[in-house]
Every structure is written in structure tokens, then in C-alpha cells.
Amino acid sequence: MLEIRHLTKVYEGGVRALEDVSLTVDEGEFLVVIGLSGSGKSTLMRCINRLVEPTGGQVLYRGIDVTAASPEELRRIRRRIAMVFQHFNLVRRSTVLTNVLSGRLGYVNPWASLLHRFPPQEVQRAMQNLERVGIAEKAYARADTLSGGQQQRVGIARALMQEPELILADEPVSALDPATSHGVLRHLEAINRDDGITVICNLHFLDLARRYGTRIVALKEGRLIFDGKPAEVDRGWFREIYGQEAEEVGVS
């Protein structure tokens, strides 16, 4: 479904964030990407939907070359790929409902959307998605009045509005406490299992990765160093990925 070929990203100033990363993602997988901070996980996520322009390599989404797509094509691809962010990235002053509806912007009539006019079935769908993540009662609250966990659930509802084929979750639980993290990841797991939506997720904690992932991929200094099943990440690999000094911390 998603093929990443020899992806390289060098930022201005010479920082080599990604070095020749090649990866294939199948439909329905819950792929977890792990690695130290600064190993290139976020860059990899953002190169998939070209929020960051790769310096070299190709990203093929269902056979379409994302890296060479025109702006029109890119928008059409982007609306099929939803993204959930570490810092939620909600528009603070807007209501929860407006934030969720903004997930549908790639599909609705652009001129109507400029006047905040959405078709009633879209508003229905938004309310259904909010119910699915359990915060329908907050639909008209301002987004910045919600707690972290609630905001992330709004983010997931926004992602669901796109009816995506792929969800990219960039460290969705790094800013949340352990219990809320499990709550959010359970939502993602349910979406992956019940709707068949492929999920690629960056995580910091290995036991979260083991618990929710069907496949684990590890980055170190921009290079892919591990690709396999969660159970295969033993102590040796742990040291390899996180460094000799690292200790495993549990969040279960």
C-alpha cells in the first residue's frame, strides 16, 4: 500500500534527518516506529504526506508517486491520509465541532467551506465520530478548554472525518499520562481492527509498541535498523536502538 524507497532528508545546515530509508507497509497493519528523539521518526511521517519535502528518494502511495505529485494531486492524496499530532494541533479558539469538520475540507465544496457551511450529513458524521471517541458532549466547547486526552481524541475524530485509508500518528501519546495514552491508543487500535485502516504510529515507550503494534520498525540516526515483529525486540535490540545506557521504563 505504501512504499518508501531510499528516502533521504537533509535539512538546511546539513542535518541528515533521514538516510536512505526503504520500507513497505501493507494494508491493515499497525506499524509502530520507534527510536530515540531526533532519530528521524517525525521527519519520516511528514515525508509520507509531504508536509516536509524529501531531499531524495520516492514515496509511493498505492502506486502514485507522492514525491512528484502536482499540488492538485498532492491534495487529493493528502485527503486520503489522515494525521494525528503530538501536540494535537487543534485550532484553539475554534469549537471542537469546527475542528472536527476541518478534517473534511479536502472533500467539501471549497467556496461553501470558506463560509463555514458544511452539508448536514457532514455535520452528522462529525457528531458520530465525536461519539465514537466519547466526547460528543463537548462538541460546542472551545478547543482549548479541553484536557490533553480530550484534545487528542478530537484530533482522532478529525482524522476519521477524512475517511482515510491510512492514519499517520506522530507521537500521539507523548504529551499524555499513561492511562490516557492507553485510552487513545485503544481508539487507534479499534479503528485499525474494525475499519481496516492502516496505522503508522511513532511511539516512545516500547511496551506500548509491543502491546499495540503488529509490526515494529526502528530508526537510529536516520537509518532503518530494525524491521520485524514486536516480540523480536529483545534486550539486545533494545540496547542497539536506544543506546547502551538505556533502561526500559514501563507504562503498563
Binding site: I81, R93, S102
Partner: protein, 498 residues
């Protein structure tokens, strides 16, 4: 004792050394020059007086080198080469008090000399302040006995003043909002356009505008050219239709070019780009040389051509060649940073307009339209657009990029991204700035009458000229009362909204 800044210039970190030298040189050129300027009267009388100021420059350099050699230079401390804290101190190192450091003392010296010089230049004269107080007696007496019957005429003018400020602010707001998006770096730097589309679009746009202008003239030809309504119709419709022609031409040209580029006709597209850039180069050369001719020799292009031919044609040719040079190296599909250019141009225009106070703008508009509140309003409006445009655009630049990224990632187009991610974040600061601007405009409108801009200022200065201080007093009281009330109300409004 280290010797010579010159030797150290060849050491490592020469750019740091150069910066240190530059700082010292600057300081030690300023100090003697300022000291000399204090006695500028006497120096102007001397035969080579002006050269003395110039002498500060080598003196400054010598002082800089000398001080660096002695190790007591400020520049070195500023550049981080020498530290006031001894190198062998561990842990808490107490900073020496400012009056015991090189930097502190030098700064104090510079401030002192600057203040003394400033005192001289602004001709502070405390003697006059204290000995001429009795001349104020008459005026003060009259100011303290307001002539209330003058209130009638003043109130009408005050209403005019308030509306002046209101209209200026209200009309300026939508224009400033529009302009501010073009002056916001984070929005503009992403916009690029292919060279080919731009080149051909430009040509078609100019053609479209010209065509539209011809069309209006042809349509209005049979009507009387001096009738008021014909003048008005022509005056309004011509620029409007020209704008339409411009935009339509640009779109048409752009579409044609894009079609050509996509169908791979490289020869044709490249040729088009080269041709257009050659013409643009020649045009730029023409404009530049006309400007130089006008400013430098008070001549116009026609005189330039007549007197100095064939040079003007050489200039045009050089321009064309330069244009071709630029155009040749780019293929039609290469992207031109259109957004950056627009950003730079808009920012420059905004800054230049802001630097010119509404007073001066009012002078211009009073000559163009006639005396009255209208030119005053337009003057305030123009300045408000520039000021609000800058403030708004700075707000846009400081928004969180996270929500912007998120909305973009859903597949929204640029306009949708702006409406959903940018606009909600900038509404409170926009309102705050608008109210701030409204306050300023109210105060400005009370005095713009001085240059004929209407409003209460006109009456105020009239009374002052006639020496009717009692009426001036009433006017001032009225102004203070109204401005303070409006200030208070707008502060309350701002509180409620933010």
C-alpha cells in the same frame, strides 16, 4: 602585554577580531566627532573646519589599535575575546560593578558626551523657562476662563472629527487585512510560479489592460467628453475594466503557458521566456535611465535621446541583453519565488507609507481634492492601512504553525487553510490593534485641521491665530473630554472581546 591588533588579525577567529576592532573604531570616532560638533559654530569659521570632523576617523582607528594593544578595549569585551571575570574563578564569579568595568565606563562616557551634545543641539534653555513665565499670564488667564458660548460651533466640528476618524479606520480595515496577507512571510514564502507562466501572463495582462482601456474609450467616444457623469463613468469604469483586463489576461496567459509547458513544447516556451525577459530587461533599463536622467540632470527620456544619442539605445540594448541572460538560463518550468518578491515589495511600500505622517499625506490630498474633511479622512486612511497592514502581518507571522500543518494535511487548499487555521488565531490581536489604531486616529483627527483636513483642529488653530484663547480653552476641554471617553470605552470593548 599583548601587542597590536594587527598581529592578532591573522590569528584564528579573524572575523571576531574584526568585529572587536570595528566596535572600538566606531566608539573612538564618535567621541571626538561629537566633542568637535559641540563647538560646531567655531569650527565652521575655520578654513578647513569640515576636515576636522573627518580627522576623527583615523584618530578613532589609532585609539582602537592602541587600546586593543593595552588590553583595555571595549570591542574585545563586546566580541567576547576578553572577560571581566578572571579565568581562574570557579563556581560563583561575582561580576564587578559597572563602574569598574571597561564596558561600563566607556558606555557612561559615551552617554555623558551624547547628553551634553544633545543639550547643546536642542538648545535647552532653562533661563527662558524661568524668566519668561510672566508672559504667560495673559494667555493663562484667558485659558482658565472658558467662553462657553463657543461650544455650539465646536460641537458640530467635534462630531465631524469623530466621524473622520471612524470612517478612516473602518474603510482602512478590510484593505489592511487584504494587504497584510501579502506581507506575511510565512504565507508568502511558499508561493512560487513557473517562469513561463509569469512571463506570458505578464504580457497578456498588460495587453488585456490596454485592450480594456481602448474599449472604454471607444464606448464613450460618442458622448460629450466634459459632461460630469461621463467623466465620472469613465473615471470609475476605466480603472475597473483595466483591472479586469489585467486579471483576465494574466489568467489566460498563464493557462496557455501551462498548457504549452505540459505538452512539452520546450522550444516555444523557452523562446517565449527569453523574449519576455529581454523586453523586460529593456524596459527596466529605460525606467532606470529615465530616472537617473531626471534626477541627475533634470532631463526626460526624450531629451536624453536627443542630446546623447546613440547612448540611450545602448542602454536599452544592455538591458535587453541582461534580460536575455537572465531568461536564457531558466527553462519555462523553473519556479520563480513570486511570493518572496510580492512580500518584499508590499513590505517596502507599507514601511515607506508609514514613515510619512498623516499630516504630510493630508497636504497632498488637500491639493488633490479640495479642503475639508475628505482629504483629512483619506490621509488618515492611507496611514492606517500601512500601519494596520504591518501590525496584522506581524501577527500572522507569529501564529502557531501546528494547526496550519494539521489543516494542510487534510488536503485543504491554501485559502481553506488560511480561513480555518490562520484566521481564528489572529482575531483577538487584530481587534486589539484595530482599537489601538482607532484611538490614534481620533487624536490625529483633532489636529489634522491644521493642514486643511477638516475637523475641530481647523477651528482650534483659527482661534489660536486670532488670539481667542478663551475659545481655544473650550475647544481643548471638549477634545480632552471626548478623547478620554472614547479611550475608556474602547478599553472596555477590548477587555470584553479578548
Amino acid at each position: 602585554m599583548r601587542w597590536g591588533a594587527m598581529r592578532c588579525l591573522y590569528g584564528s577567529g579573524w572575523s571576531v577580531r574584526l568585529k572587536a576592532l570595528a566596535v572600538d573604531w566606531l566608539i573612538w570616532t564618535y567621541l571626538p566627532a561629537a566633542a568637535l560638533y559641540y563647538f560646531r559654530g567655531a569650527i565652521a569659521g575655520l578654513p578647513y573646519g569640515r576636515w576636522l570632523y573627518g580627522a576623527s576617523i583615523p584618530v578613532g582607528l589609532l585609539m582602537a589599535i592602541l587600546l586593543q594593544a593595552l588590553g583595555t578595549s571595549v570591542g574585545e569585551r563586546v566580541a567576547g575575546l576578553v572577560s571581566e571575570v578572571p579565568a581562574d574563578t570557579v563556581g560563583f564569579a561575582l561580576r564587578r560593578p559597572w563602574y569598574r568595568t571597561q564596558v561600563g565606563l566607556t558606555v557612561a562616557l559615551v552617554c555623558l558626551i551624547t547628553l551634553v551634545l544633545g543639550w547643546r543641539i536642542t538648545q535647552i534653555n532653562l533661563y527662558n523657562v524661568f524668566t519668561r513665565a510672566d508672559r504667560m499670564a495673559n494667555m493663562t488667564d484667558r485659558l482658565l476662563r472658558p467662553y462657553w458660548p463657543a461650544l455650539g460651533a465646536l460641537v458640530e466640528k467635534m462630531i465631524e472629527t469623530i466621524f473622520l476618524a471612524l470612517m478612516a479606520t473602518v474603510i482602512a480595515i478590510p484593505i489592511a487585512i487584504l494587504v497584510s496577507f501579502f506581507a506575511a512571510r510565512n504565507l508568502m514564502h511558499r508561493v512560487t510560479a513557473p517562469y513561463g507562466t509569469l512571463a506570458v501572463g505578464f504580457v497578456f495582462a498588460v495587453g488585456g489592460a490596454w485592450l480594456a482601456s481602448r474599449l472604454v474609450d471607444w464606448a464613450l467616444a460618442p458622448l460629450a467628453a466634459t459632461a460630469i457623469d461621463v467623466v465620472l463613468v469613465r473615471g470609475v469604469s476605466k480603472p475597473l475594466l483595466m483591472l479586469v483586463g489585467l486579471v483576465a489576461g494574466a489568467i489566460l496567459g498563464g493557462r496557455t503557458m501551462r498548457h504549452l509547458i505540459e505538452s512539452g513544447r520546450h522550444g516555444a516556451t523557452h523562446g517565449a521566456v527569453v523574449l519576455v525577459t529581454a523586453v523586460l530587461g529593456a524596459m527596466a533599463a529605460y525606467v532606470l535611465s529615465s530616472f537617473v536622467a531626471m534626477v541627475g540632470y533634470a532631463a526626460s527620456w526624450a531629451i536624453f535621446v536627443r542630446e546623447l544619442s546613440p547612448w540611450p539605445y545602448v542602454v536599452l540594448a544592455v538591458g535587453a541583453v541582461a534580460g536575455t541572460g537572465v531568461g536564457w538560463r531558466k527553462s519555462a518550468g523553473d519556479s520563480f519565488p513570486l511570493g518572496q518578491v510580492v512580500y518584499t515589495v508590499v513590505r517596502f511600500i507599507l514601511n515607506a507609507t508609514r514613515s510619512i505622517e498623516p499630516f504630510v499625506w493630508a497636504l497632498v490630498f488637500v491639493t488633490w481634492f479640495r479642503l475639508g474633511p475628505f482629504p483629512g479622512m483619506v490621509a488618515l486612511m492611507v496611514h492606517s492601512i500601512a500601519s494596520l497592514g504591518k501590525l496584522y502581518s506581524e501577527q500572522i507571522e507569529s501564529i502557531e504553525s501546528g494547526p496550519l500543518e494539521a489543516v494542510r494535511a487534510t488536503g485543504a487548499n491554501e485559502l481553506q487553510t488560511v480561513v480555518y487555521a490562520v484566521v481564528p488565531q489572529i482575531v483577538p490581536p487584530f481587534i486589539a490593534f484595530t482599537i489601538y489604531r482607532w484611538d490614534i486616529n481620533v487624536r490625529m483627527s483633532t489636529i489634522i485641521g491644521l493642514v486643511g483636513g477638516g475637523g475641530i483642529g481647523q477651528l482650534l488653530f483659527q482661534y489660536q491665530n486670532l488670539g481667542q484663547w478663551r475659545s481655544v480653552s473650550v475647544a481643548v476641554i471638549l477634545i480632552v473630554a471626548v478623547v478620554m471617553t472614547l479611550d475608556y470605552l474602547s478599553a472596555r470593548v477590548r477587555e470584553r472581546i479578548i
